[in-house]
């Protein structure tokens, strides 16, 4: 295949995703209220970033593949467009092509017990369906799957010559670990400057960090609103979008701060009006849930709305909505990198829980249950979370001590065939009924 054809193929899935989200954006225009406008704005920013990447590929401009926990403040300060290798499963939102992609991954013969969010990028990379960037920032944590994915990337003939750098993750979480990671980030910044032709201007970095501090402060404030009974927002708006906007697209950008400002206002208004998550006539919030993972993006519409409507069960907090991002002290290069290291090693969601020892699970549960008046903790039990699976005993014990019900489901967040939505609903209903919830 000639170069143009290879390039076109590598963008095929990416463009398909872009088109899918363009469709969703049209749908959000029909959503009522300010929340609808927030969704629309998020999708506009998302599409904008996707168009930028497409433009970079088609016009051979610099861009990278990176992650939300690779200090995206740095890319933003360097004006470096980027995308995430695991974007597809995380953004899937029940996309129609997801299942055939998962089947494609299966047909490659890689064990079906490997996390679907890892198999999908492997499938895309090995089949030339991922845009090849100027440089790659790999991910070696929190789980075993992440480094293996990047090993495949390095092994792949089309990606072999693309420079790649990955930060090494310490297992501990003390000052020594943060300092070590800060040095890894410094090396990462050097790497980016070397291979993308962009420079890191410290003043710009200060600006970006300070802006991100504003965004995250607003996010914290917004999260406090969700402590309210009833919770002003449900699964539809809140953490997932907040995470996307601040991590994947506009870290340290005024558009992000604006968006959070809007989000906060929406929440505040809802509280003033005494309204809960659902606009359905006569609806009442009955069960406050802590969904301890990302949403089941592969089939989200088949579970989340049902939880709210059928059971009055609101996901007050989930794994990605809650991370108390420490504010960065921008007084010096040292404090900035220290702050970035803390954020990306200790605060980032999923990283925070899965990377180190199990207190990260039990502490989170303890904090959230108390602060958000949680009625039931759900460990969805995604098939890729092997360390989490080995922590279920500890989570159960923690919940027992807190006298809060704990439900372990066992599913695939992306593949609806693993435990189909009907079965999940049945399991949840039986549990709620058995525990006298709602």
């Amino acid at each position: 295949m000639d170069r143009d054809a290879v390039r076109e193929k590598s963008l095929a899935r990416y463009k398909q995703e872009r088109d899918w989200f363009a469709l969703l954006r049209e749908a959000t225009k029909l959503l009522p209220g300010e929340e609808g406008r927030l969704q629309e704005k998020l999708l506009t920013i998302l599409l904008d970033s996707k168009e930028t990447v497409v433009d970079c590929v088609e016009n051979e401009k610099s861009f990278i593949a990176g992650y939300f926990c690779n200090a995206p403040e740095l890319f933003h300060a360097m004006d470096l467009p980027w995308y995430m290798l695991m974007e597809t499963p995380f953004l899937a939102a029940s996309a129609p092509y997801l299942l055939s992609d998962i089947e494609g991954a299966e047909n490659m013969g890689i064990g079906t017990d490997l996390c679907t969010a890892i198999r999908l990028p492997i499938y895309y990379i090995e089949n030339g369906l991922m845009p090849v960037p100027s440089a790659v920032l790999g991910l070696l944590y929190p789980c075993d799957g992440a480094p293996m994915l990047h090993q495949v990337l390095e092994h792949n003939k089309a990606w072999k010559d693309v420079p790649i750098y990955s930060c090494d993750p310490p297992y501990t979480s003390d000052e020594r670990a943060v300092e070590y990671f800060a040095d890894e980030l410094r090396r990462m910044a050097d790497f980016l400057q070397k291979h993308t032709g962009k420079t890191l201007d410290m003043e710009k970095l200060v600006e970006v960090c300070e802006e991100s501090n504003k965004s995250y402060t607003l996010w914290q404030d917004y999260n406090e609103l969700r402590r309210n009974v009833p919770c002003p927002h449900g699964w539809e708006i809140g953490g997932a979008q907040a995470f996307a906007i601040s991590q994947c697209f506009v870290a340290g950008d005024p558009r992000c701060t604006d968006w959070f400002r809007q989000l906060y206002k929406c929440g505040e208004l809802k509280i003033q009006e005494g309204k809960g998550a659902s606009a359905t006539e006569g609806w009442k919030e009955k069960i406050r849930l802590f969904w301890f993972d990302i949403m089941p993006y592969g089939w989200i519409f088949e579970l989340m709305p049902w939880l709210e409507e059928e059971w009055g069960a609101v996901i007050v907090m989930d794994m990605f909505s809650n991370f108390p991002y420490t504010l960065i002290d921008t007084s010096s290069e040292k404090t900035i990198f220290h702050g970035l290291a803390k954020r990306n090693l200790l605060d980032a969601p999923m990283i925070r829980q899965a990377r180190g020892t199990a207190e990260n699970f039990s502490n989170d549960i303890g904090r959230i249950v108390k602060d958000y008046k949680i009625d039931c903790v759900i460990w969805p039990g995604h098939m890729g979370h092997k360390d989490g699976a080995a922590t279920t005993g500890i989570m159960r014990e923690t919940c027992r001590e807190l006298a809060v019900p704990f439900l372990h489901i066992g599913l695939d967040l992306f593949d609806r065939r693993y435990t189909n939505p009907e079965e999940v609903r049945t399991k949840v209903s039986e549990y709620f009924r058995g525990m006298g919830l709602g």
Binding site: E103, E106, N107, M108, G109, R416, R417, Y418, N420, E423
Partner: protein, 259 residues
């Protein structure tokens, strides 16, 4: 030279007698609880059919299949993978991929021009994609295995059975029956479900045409059609009973090793 091949499976025992490269006798019986017994009975029957008086007249016998270690009168045993490859290839020399759907396992074998094994994948850990799955479904539908073949109607819109585990798929099918879904539609869904499983295995091993089906379940036309549709190819039917492919392969190998 007269040789024999006996394939002792979980559900059936098959035997073939060959003389100078031609099949002169064969038989298939339901498996007894003792593999040695099954082997002896079916081999004796095949020998009789060949017009011979005793197993002793055979110059060499190879045993294969799940019970291959329990065939005392066989000189050697060879894996059913090699035997199915050889057998299917001899029956249809254009064979390059064999999909064997047996009683309790299924396999995909990539076959060379000479009929030797290049690569293979097996599922012998669960019922999905095997005769056991169909048996379970036949029970739930009260239609018997023949019913599964007979009742499928090509025009029906197949329903979707999403469960990969046959135990859970049973519950899914019961629900469909209770909801009043038409039987042909359910059966079409079952066939597609099994075909999906096999499709995945074929892709993993790598599809090279011609692809042939062997094993008891291959006689299910609906399944064959579903698999052909998934792979977007034409599946050729073996000229002889596809359940005998393993035994044929064993006999061929017996001839090779003796000659």
């Amino acid at each position: 030279m007269i040789v024999g091949g006996v394939d002792v499976g979980s559900a059936t025992g098959k035997a073939v007698v060959m003389k100078d490269g031609e099949i002169i006798g064969s038989d298939m019986i339901a498996a007894t609880t003792r593999p040695q017994e099954t082997a002896r009975l079916v081999m004796e029957a095949a020998v009789r059919q060949a017009g011979l008086s005793s197993i002793d007249h055979l110059d060499n016998i190879i045993g294969t299949g799940y019970g291959r270690l329990k065939v005392p009168f066989a000189q050697e045993n060879v894996s059913e993978i090699s035997c199915h490859a050889r057998g299917a290839h001899w029956l249809a020399p254009s064979t390059r991929t064999v999909v064997d759907i047996g009683g309790q396992d299924c396999k995909v074998i990539s076959v060379s021009e000479k009929g030797t094994v290049l690569n293979f994948a097996m599922n012998d850990r669960c019922a999905a994609g095997t005769g056991r799955f169909f048996e379970a479904m036949a029970r739930v539908l009260y239609c018997g295995l023949e019913g599964i073949s007979a009742l499928e109607n090509q025009g029906e819109e197949p329903c979707i059975i999403s469960n990969q585990c046959s135990v859970f798929a049973e519950s899914e099918v019961v629900t469909l029956v209770n909801e009043g879904t038409e039987l042909p539609s359910i059966i079409a869904g079952i066939n597609i479900s099994v075909a999906s499983r096999l499709h995945s295995m074929v892709r993993r091993v790598g599809l090279v045409e011609d692809l042939v089906l062997t094993g008891g379940c291959s006689k299910n036309d609906g399944l064959a059609r579903a698999l052909a549709a998934k792979l977007d190819i034409k599946i050729e039917r073996l000229p002889q009973d596809p359940q005998l492919a393993g035994a044929v392969g064993a006999a061929l190998i017996a001839a090779e090793k003796a000659g």
